[in-house]
Symmetry: C2
Subunit: 392 residues, 2 copies
């Protein structure tokens, strides 16, 4: 699949993380792109989050570059704002674009000062080696505890030509995006007006990143940016917009699923579908409660068809429903019918639960139209091992 | 310390749990006691919870016996209501008291039918061997994954004589009481009118069980009952009531702390104090968010003074505060001053974090009067081991 036209990428190791693995990435659009972004709803917000928000406002939704570092969140740091601004200024100067068109993003440990010189010192090299085919390299450089890079691609044939979408994301812990998530960058070469782009991002986030949780912790640095630089020369006509939006949202969904699958210590991707609720919002809250229940997640880790924990977790969502009219399916097998144990072969289901994907389906009334899908992962001893010794 | 007068206890193994360990307990008051109880707020409520609530209402707040079983929650079961009622009826008949004065309680696996005959068959033996000194035996019989029994005692000398309080509780997983908790029974021989007793219970729960979380999962069976049978013959005068209430609340606090300390897989009791918030409710939400953050709990498990995770978790409580005016203390050591890293010896603090108790103190503004205390435990690989194979 071809990458979106008009974007170039470069990465290097700037000595921010200890392991000698690329930790800075620069994403540049050859022409100013319409940009939309959503950010963490955590009350504690990292300096790059605050600055990106300001830059998008001042640039009236135009972005020419994204400057990302991994290994340091630049959050709760004395010099955070100055560091974020200095690195954007240095990038803007080298790229000959207004500083407000540079969006900074950081991920890593909180509360450790980030040395701006590590990034500004690396920038000449980065700008010098920008390449249109280094997308995967960039997707690798933004990772922290991730085991695998996370990318997704789409191509849409329209009447006037083809447009492309490519997305990269990172994150496997401190994941419960609300309105946004961990870092994610989605690029397209379609021509999409700013207002339409923002609306697409908002709707796309609702069905992707906002339906994802690894451990219920929302990070201080969550950023998801969507850029449309129009380099394809193709402006979708109004009737074609849904097709383009579907491609963009599909890329975002793939990225969100990839995060859940690579959740810290995870061995299984869990997809939770709640249907029949009075409202989609209620279904979403129930799905999230199930996704965030450590008891559900450990049961899946142990391939234990313990549906009582799923029913109990659903009951904790603060949403009114009748447990006596609730059905639960595990891997497509009915395990709880109208709130009571359904007959199923425990041995057989245990074997099916050993698969790398687990599907939990909850129908709370059967006739309501509120439904929601949510992704998470199982909770294993690996999560503990990773997080009991992250810094040290 | 002397047990409250006028109560007797008996336990036996009725074959409800697989391990041959006592699984039924009967607590009887020689005279009808004023009783108050709080129950789970989970939308899914076990049959004994529903029946206890009805019995308390029909008996106008009088209770003569508590019939508890461990190993089966009698929740989401076809015959749940009938089983709970049949066991209460059998107990009432043998004890010659109205059935509405018997409070049933169950704890254990959800969704498995409970055979009433196991309990009704054991009742003659139980009633035959009631003893006033078998309190500890009863406290043992109600345990499930608990490693240690959890009891607390108090004695209050009043003008007209001495009154006594004794409490027992269970639980180490599926713990985040809201208005109530897992099973807890607090008995006193003081004469306390029903209305005063209910008010005491409500206030006591607010500062004990409702400030406790092991894994953020609220169970379907949470029940906390407070009985006052007046067997001491001592009626506290109005001025002495606060002293009695303090003793009762103190027993409840001890029980809540004991649950956190014995949280599944836990090695450390964590006490979280949030002060300086605009309201006590806001402080409570922040403390709860910190207590429920798996990243904070794993950091404590690893003795990692990773205060950034504490600040991040506080930021997820949905409570407005200024991170730039927030101080964080770990084991009394200032680790974050006004939102930024404070200088401290990492080696020294790591050693202090190896202690069995961890104190996290967060001051969010310094001058607000909202404060809250919360208890939880660290999150270790033991939690995963226990819960990935609970049923099987």
């Amino acid at each position: 699949m071809t990458l979106p036209l008009g974007y170039a990428y470069a990465t290097t190791y700037a000595g921010i993380r200890q392991a000698p693995k690329n930790d800075v990435a620069l994403i540049v659009s050859g022409m100013p792109a319409n940009a939309a972004a959503v950010f963490t709803q955590n009350r504690v917000q990292a300096a790059p989050v605050r600055l990106s928000r300001r830059h998008l406002k001042l640039s009236k939704g135009l972005a020419g570059a994204i400057l990302v570092n991994a290994g340091n969140a630049n959050c709760a740091t004395r010099t955070g704002d100055a560091v974020a601004l200095a690195t954007c200024k240095a990038a803007a100067k080298l790229l000959q674009m207004p500083v407000v068109q540079v969006l900074p993003a950081s991920t890593g440990v909180i509360g450790v000062e980030l040395d701006a010189r590590k990034i500004t010192g690396a920038l000449p090299e980065l700008v010098g080696k920008l390449r249109t085919d280094a997308f995967d390299e960039a997707a690798n450089a933004i990772l922290t505890t991730d085991l695998v890079p996370k990318t997704a691609f789409a191509e849409v044939k329209l009447r006037r030509g083809t447009v492309r979408v490519a997305g990269m994301t990172k994150g496997s812990g401190m994941i419960q995006p609300l309105m946004a998530t961990t870092l994610g960058f989605v690029l397209t070469d379609a021509q999409i007006p700013g207002a339409a782009l923002r609306a697409m991002l908002k709707r796309g986030v609702e069905r992707s990143y906002n339906r994802l949780s690894v451990d219920g912790d929302t990070s201080t640095n969550d950023t998801l940016a969507l850029l449309a630089n129009g380099a394809s020369g193709v402006r979708p006509d109004p009737k074609e917009m849904p097709k383009v939006e579907e491609a963009i949202a599909g890329v975002m969904e793939s990225l969100a699923r990839a995060i859940a699958r690579d959740g810290e210590g995870a061995k299984k991707l869990i997809t939770i579908d709640v249907a029949g609720a009075a409202s989609a919002e209620g279904a979403g809250r129930m799905a999230r409660a199930i996704a965030n229940s450590p008891l559900v997640k450990t049961a899946v880790a142990g391939s234990d068809p313990n549906w009582g924990r799923i029913l109990c977790a659903a009951g904790n969502a603060g949403v009114a429903f009748d447990p006596g009219k609730t059905d639960i399916y595990l891997q497509g097998v009915l395990v709880c019918k109208q709130g009571l144990a359904a007959p199923f072969s425990e041995e057989e289901l245990k074997a099916r639960l050993d698969a790398p994907e687990c599907e939990i389906r909850v129908t709370v009334r059967g006739k309501g139209k509120g439904r929601s899908r949510f992704w998470t992962c199982d909770l294993t001893e690996g999560y503990i091992r990773i997080n009991a010794s992250y810094r040290t």
